[in-house]
């Protein structure tokens, strides 16, 4: 009578401990599965794109795809050369970056070196709000406000053109470039600036000769992020640049990008397994390869320019 309660409570504690260990293990496993889902997503993306592209390349030679200068998969006599879509994607991205890189850098230098901290605390989130506007709304701006405004200056500008799509896209990516560059610039230690000021440099000289080079690896990452956003941006170009695949690097003309082509084909009723269904996966694969190349370039550039303070 006197012994049983002790031993039963001891065994209770033992089973309680066992149950607790078991529960902890199950929870850890569930959490791991959740984290692994992101890897599964990547595997899914690569698998789907490669699988459908493989089917596509069974019927269209890779060489024709990589060297062809006409992209007319929906015509009677289909041509599958990726170059017209690549030229459209590159041109709109270059226009966007030509606007966003210099302006984003100046804004970042201003916010990190010139602006007073209170102003910065207000402006930074306000700029980030601009990036929150849906891209289809930006497309609407490009088509219905920016293109007519540009047509006043360039009367020959067609209603769909890569210039206004690129400019609006640039406006959209200024905040992300300036925000990330500014973070990198602010991480530059203060004594580097003090050294520069001590030699009699102005704020501008310090910003350009000391802070900018010291933060360059971070700034490069910002540029690369902006570039890959420009390459992958869909709705602005689908609305404002037109859907006509055109092998041209002239921003004043209409052209389709890779993403705009995917949208255009998806809007129609896709017969699953047909060659035109597979073309959008091939286009998607090209897009992914482009962003991958950009990231690799960015990785090596930022390593090359990394400063150790």
């Amino acid at each position: 009578m006197s012994e049983t309660p002790i031993s039963s409570s001891a065994s209770q504690i033992y089973t309680f401990k066992q149950a607790r260990v078991l529960r902890e293990r199950i929870i850890a496993a569930v959490l791991f599965l959740a984290a692994f889902s992101s890897v599964a997503t990547t595997i899914g993306i690569v698998y789907i794109l490669l699988e459908e592209s493989w089917q596509f390349f069974q019927q269209v030679p890779v060489l024709e795809f990589l060297t062809g200068t006409e992209w007319t998969p929906l015509f009677q006599d289909p041509q599958y050369g990726i170059w017209p879509l690549l030229s459209g994607t590159l041109t709109t991205s270059v226009v966007a970056l030509a606007l966003a890189v210099p302006l984003g850098t100046i804004v970042a230098l201003y916010l990190s070196e010139f602006a007073n901290p209170k102003f910065r605390e207000v402006v930074k989130p306000a700029l980030e709000l601009l990036a929150a506007i849906p891209t289809v709304v930006y497309g609407y701006f490009a088509l219905l406000f920016v293109t007519p405004a540009l047509q006043v200056i360039f009367p020959n500008l067609p209603g769909f053109n890569m210039l206004s799509a690129g400019l609006v896209m640039g406006l959209m990516i200024i905040p992300s470039i300036s925000s990330i560059s500014e973070d990198a610039m602010r991480a530059v230690p203060l004594n580097l600036r003090e050294g520069s000021y001590a030699t009699g440099a102005t704020r501008l000289q310090t910003a350009l000769n000391v802070v900018f080079p010291a933060a360059f690896s971070g700034v490069i990452s910002a540029y690369i992020l902006g570039a890959s956003r420009a390459v992958g941006e869909t709705m602005i170009v689908a609305v404002a640049a037109g859907l006509q695949p055109n092998l041209t690097f002239n921003p004043f003309s209409e052209a389709a990008t890779i993403t705009a082509y995917i949208v255009q084909v998806s809007l129609g009723d896709l017969p699953h397994g047909s060659l035109e269904y597979q073309t959008i996966f091939v286009a998607g694969l090209s897009l992914l390869v482009m962003t991958l190349i950009l990231n690799i370039i960015g990785y090596f550039l930022s390593r090359r320019f990394r400063e150790i303070y």
Partner: protein
């Protein structure tokens, strides 16, 4: 001798003045760029608002799309958006928080944790339309979910998962380890420590990440077009209570449209009467995403201010 000295002094003074002027010029340019780009965007948004305001009547929210621009409304679009967003939130919130907890609290430093880590960063840079292609291949055709609300919700959940994971990790990292040690000292298990202490303290800042992710998902158009959202829907999915309890989940498999797709459809129509509808839909969409982001910024500010560890 004195003449020479005063001449060199003057030269130095001129040099300083010149550099000061450059400095001031740059500061003005930086401020100017910020002001001008915010003004341009404000103008564009206001232009859209004033173009669309005439259509922002209760009827606009209660009517189905129509061939007649005067009668067309966004009922199926906003109902569709709410339904898709519910699915997105139900999936992305638990999975995202669980992944964040795993990576921050459980993951040991090994290659698998590194793979997941690098993978999450890279997924954040994948163009959204590629997620659409993944969903088209995987959810629509392999899992046979069809072009449904469930497929769209899953797609957007995968898209915003990196955002939720990253903000969860940042919020967990902000909790000082003394709190963890205090919980362990009282005999709490790892999960008890996380569930009873760390999670409640960080929930506020995790919320900001969830809101920002969801507002991004609301504005996303491209991946939803890719999986085959319809652009013209004049009916609502069956309510879960119709034919209860047999058809509780029928709505998950219903065809749908969402706000950005409705707007895209109106923007890309040739008739100018639909521009007004596009402006009205764009205004609703912009108000939705901006207010969500505003709320997130406010929450971030609020929680940073309130807690002093």
């Amino acid at each position: 001798m004195t003449n020479y000295q005063s001449e060199s002094l003057m030269a130095v003074q001129a040099n300083v003045k010149f550099r000061e002027r450059l400095n001031k010029g740059f500061a003005i340019a930086g401020l100017g760029i910020i002001v001008v780009s915010v003004l341009i965007l404000l103008l564009l948004v206001l232009g859209m608002f004033f173009q669309g305001i005439g259509r922002l009547t209760p009827q606009f929210f209660l009517n189905f799309p129509s061939r007649n621009p005067e009668e067309a409304g966004i009922l199926s679009a906003w109902v569709g958006t709410i339904l898709v967003m519910s699915v997105t939130a139900i999936i992305s919130v638990p999975v995202g928080i669980a992944s964040g907890i795993y990576l921050e609290e459980y993951a040991r430093k090994n290659w698998l944790a590194d793979v997941i880590e690098i993978n999450v960063t890279n997924l954040a840079g994948v163009p959204s339309i590629v997620y659409g292609l993944l969903a088209l291949g995987l959810f629509v055709y392999q899992f046979k979910l069809g072009q449904s609300i469930l497929a769209a919700g899953l797609t957007l959940a995968l898209l915003i998962l990196p955002i939720v994971i990253v903000t969860t990790r940042e919020s967990l990292r902000a909790i000082p380890s003394s709190l963890r040690e205090a919980a362990y000292a009282l005999g709490a298990s790892k999960w008890q420590m996380i569930w009873d202490h760390i999670l409640p303290y960080s929930l506020g800042s995790i919320m900001t990440g969830i809101i920002i992710g969801l507002s991004r998902a609301i504005g996303e158009t491209a991946p939803v077009i890719t999986i085959g959202a319809l652009t013209f829907i004049a009916f609502l999915p069956d309510s879960p209570f119709q034919d209860f309890p047999k058809n509780v989940f029928a709505w998950l498999f219903a065809p749908f449209t969402v706000m950005p797709i409705q707007m895209f459809n109106w923007v890309s129509r040739p008739e100018p009467e639909f521009e007004v509808n596009a402006a009205a839909a764009g205004t609703v969409l912009t108000v939705m995403t901006l207010s969500m982001n505003g709320l997130a910024i406010y929450l971030r500010y609020h929680f940073r201010k309130g807690i002093k560890w």
